[in-house]
């Protein structure tokens, strides 16, 4: 343990430097947008961007944990849709609000745990297990609703998206809370340390007595539950739960994670980096909308930024070694 502690400390500057790099990218982007349009750097627009980042940012927290274990979760978007429609129909049945929310979170957790068990007990590659879940969860959501959205909720529920705390939109407050907790878990708890250890070298983790199976399952469960949380916020935001919601959100979440410096090979990454990654994507989309850039060019720009971010990350890593 002590040895690994030292190794981690040596890595610290590397991590720190890379996060600074991503942060500098975000700030640079903001400076450019500030120079180009008067509508970008206003408090209302910045809050608007933060709110738009929440859904992907929250899913990306789970994705970060999963990717640090050297796994991948392709099912988060579908699980979001499934959790959303389960919660929505519970609320429409007149279930007590907290219970309805629990149904949403629980559905997500359950799907995530199934992913985890398929990977650990079933020994399926994460790509395959979650690819299957992606289709199963989506199909179940469509069956469950007969393809139709479930809409119209109480003011109380909708305040999850429309409310404000000291002028900050509730979803942003929730997102920040999730990141604070996730950062603490990743850096200060056994679960966090084991997550890195499993991703760094699964064999070694196993030999040093870590119950790799349980911790991996927990990590996938966590990712599922966070999709459930994102489903609550998305449903409140649109006042509607759609079985086709969240399509391809997994790709946005992976992009945010990777831009934030988490390695797809596992073993390294931070949630702070992921938050910056999610914000970069949201700021980019916002800025391109403000400037009235055609939606086709937007896709080219976003894709280029993802590639660039990872290129730089790899260059930094090579120099660090």
């Amino acid at each position: 343990m002590r040895l690994r502690g030292i190794a981690l400390r040596q890595d610290f500057f590397l991590h720190y430097g890379r996060q600074l790099g991503t942060l500098a990218g975000l700030l640079g982007l903001m400076v450019v947008l500030w120079a180009l349009t008067p509508h970008f750097l206003t408090i209302s627009n910045l809050l608007n961007v933060a709110e738009q980042a929440t859904i992907i940012a929250i899913i990306a927290v789970g994705m970060t944990f999963v990717i640090i274990t050297a796994g991948i979760d392709l099912s988060v978007g579908s699980v979001l849709a499934f959790s959303g429609v389960v919660m929505a129909s519970a609320l429409h049945q007149g279930v007590f609000l907290p219970l309805g929310l629990a149904a949403g979170l629980g559905t997500g957790l359950l799907c995530g745990l199934v992913n985890g068990l398929l990977i650990t007990v079933g020994r399926l590659p994460p790509f395959i297990a979650t690819l299957g879940m992606m289709s199963v969860a989506r199909g179940t959501a469509l069956m469950f609703t007969e393809g139709r959205p479930i809409s119209g909720f109480s003011e109380g529920f909708r305040s999850m998206a429309t409310g404000e705390l000291l002028r900050v939109p509730t979803p942003v407050v929730i997102m920040v809370a999730v990141y604070v907790v996730a950062h603490f878990v990743l850096k200060r708890t056994k679960l966090g340390r084991y997550t890195y250890a499993i991703g760094g070298n699964e064999e070694a983790a196993l030999l040093s007595g870590i119950s790799v199976r349980s911790y991996k399952t927990i990590v996938y469960g966590l990712a599922g539950m966070l999709s459930g949380l994102a489903a609550i916020l998305l449903t409140a935001r649109l006042n509607s739960a759609q079985p086709i919601a969240g399509m391809m959100y997994e790709l946005d979440a992976i992009a945010a994670t990777v831009i934030g410096g988490t390695s797809l090979m596992g073993g390294e990454g931070t949630v702070v980096g992921t938050l910056i990654g999610a914000l970069i994507m949201a700021v980019l989309r916002n800025g391109l909308n403000l400037l009235g850039v055609s939606s086709f060019i937007q896709q080219v720009v976003i894709g280029s930024v993802i590639i660039l971010a990872v290129l730089i990350d790899m260059a930094l890593k090579r120099r660090g070694r």
Binding site: T42, Q52, N239, S295, Q299
Partner: protein, 320 residues
């Protein structure tokens, strides 16, 4: 490391500047009106955009056209609308990706004092009134009537007897739902006709191919197909060709896309319901412009709808 960072910033800067140039190349000075499409890669909406751009040029309007990457992504559409509100456009024209889901975004525009013109897809009136949101004007075609025209045409072609399959759009989209309702209503008059399969192909061409291929497997004796959009119909036409059944199945689409017109001319499709989306786009910009000027506009503008068959294609030029 510093070098890298500067490199990235320069690249991002140049990309953004480049694209910004594109964005501002339209006429400056005039009021800024935004048109938010469901998607920018469907011929129907491309025509709408063209119509809107022409009208904008005439009126001296600075038109911004935006669309989400995926047609079904209502959340992205909401983000685009929020961002345009932040950019303080003078008016918003929206083709809703979801009849209900668009309402919170309309509400936000209302609060910012930006008039909203809805195009093509109707907003769910109940959700709208519950949210106390308002739209200034709706521009669209009578999809119900269009579905009915298609139903009557198929009933006539089958001589009142036979099996019919339907390719639906994305469930919950008002346009597709209305077309379907009109179609079913028309067939009620002819009890000899039975709808044996009615499945969604999500407005997409490749899904139209796959779904109809499957329908042909389970109902090889199907006599006619009504697809709620031409893209799905064109996919189905390929499936029919692959099954060597070209000419044996009456195919009716919706939207009268250029490719569908060609197929009607060739005889691989029998009819398509024409909606004049360019006209819708132009009308939307015009109404938005008049709203900015403080003038009154009609609450609802119905753009005519028309059944295009080989006969109408040959008899007149006005269908172009």
């Amino acid at each position: 490391m510093k070098k890298d960072l500067i490199g990235v910033l320069l690249v991002i800067l140049s990309i953004t500047l480049m694209s910004c140039q594109r964005g501002s190349e339209q006429a400056d000075g005039g009021p800024r009106i935004a048109l938010v499409l469901k998607t920018a890669n469907n011929p129907f909406f491309i025509d709408m955009q063209k119509g809107a751009e022409e009208a904008a040029k005439k009126l001296g309007v600075n038109l911004i056209v935006q669309a989400a990457e995926r047609e079904v992504d209502v959340e992205k559409q909401m983000q685009i609308i929020e961002n345009l509100i932040q950019a303080r456009v003078a008016a918003l024209c929206i083709t809703p990706s979801g009849s209900r889901e668009v309402v919170p975004a309309i509400d936000k525009a209302n609060r910012a004092g930006i008039p909203v013109v809805i195009v093509d897809t109707r907003v769910d009136p109940k959700t709208l009134s519950e949210a106390k949101a308002r739209i200034a004007s709706f521009i669209g075609s009578d999809n119900y009537e269009g579905g009915k025209l298609a139903g009557e045409f198929i009933a006539k072609r089958l001589n009142g007897k036979g099996k019919v399959a339907v390719l639906e759009g994305i469930p919950g989209h008002e346009t597709g739902d209305s077309r379907l309702k009109g179609f079913r209503e028309a067939l009620k008059a002819t009890p000899g006709i039975e709808i044996v399969a009615s499945q969604t192909a999500n407005w997409e061409r490749d899904q139209g191919f796959n779904v109809f291929q499957n329908i042909l497997q389970s109902h090889p004796d199907v006599g006619a197909l009504f697809a709620c959009s031409d893209l799905m119909a064109l996919g189905a036409v390929e499936a029919i060709a692959a099954a060597n059944k070209t000419g044996q199945i009456v195919v009716v689409g919706f939207d009268a896309l250029p490719e569908a017109r060609e197929d009607v001319q060739k005889g691989t499709m029998d009819a398509t319901v024409a909606q004049f989306s360019a006209q819708m786009g132009a009308q939307a910009v015009e109404n938005a412009y008049r709203l900015i000027k403080g003038e009154q506009v009609k609450e609802e503008v119905v753009v005519p709808i028309k059944l295009i068959t080989k006969e109408t294609l040959n008899s007149s030029e006005e269908n172009k």
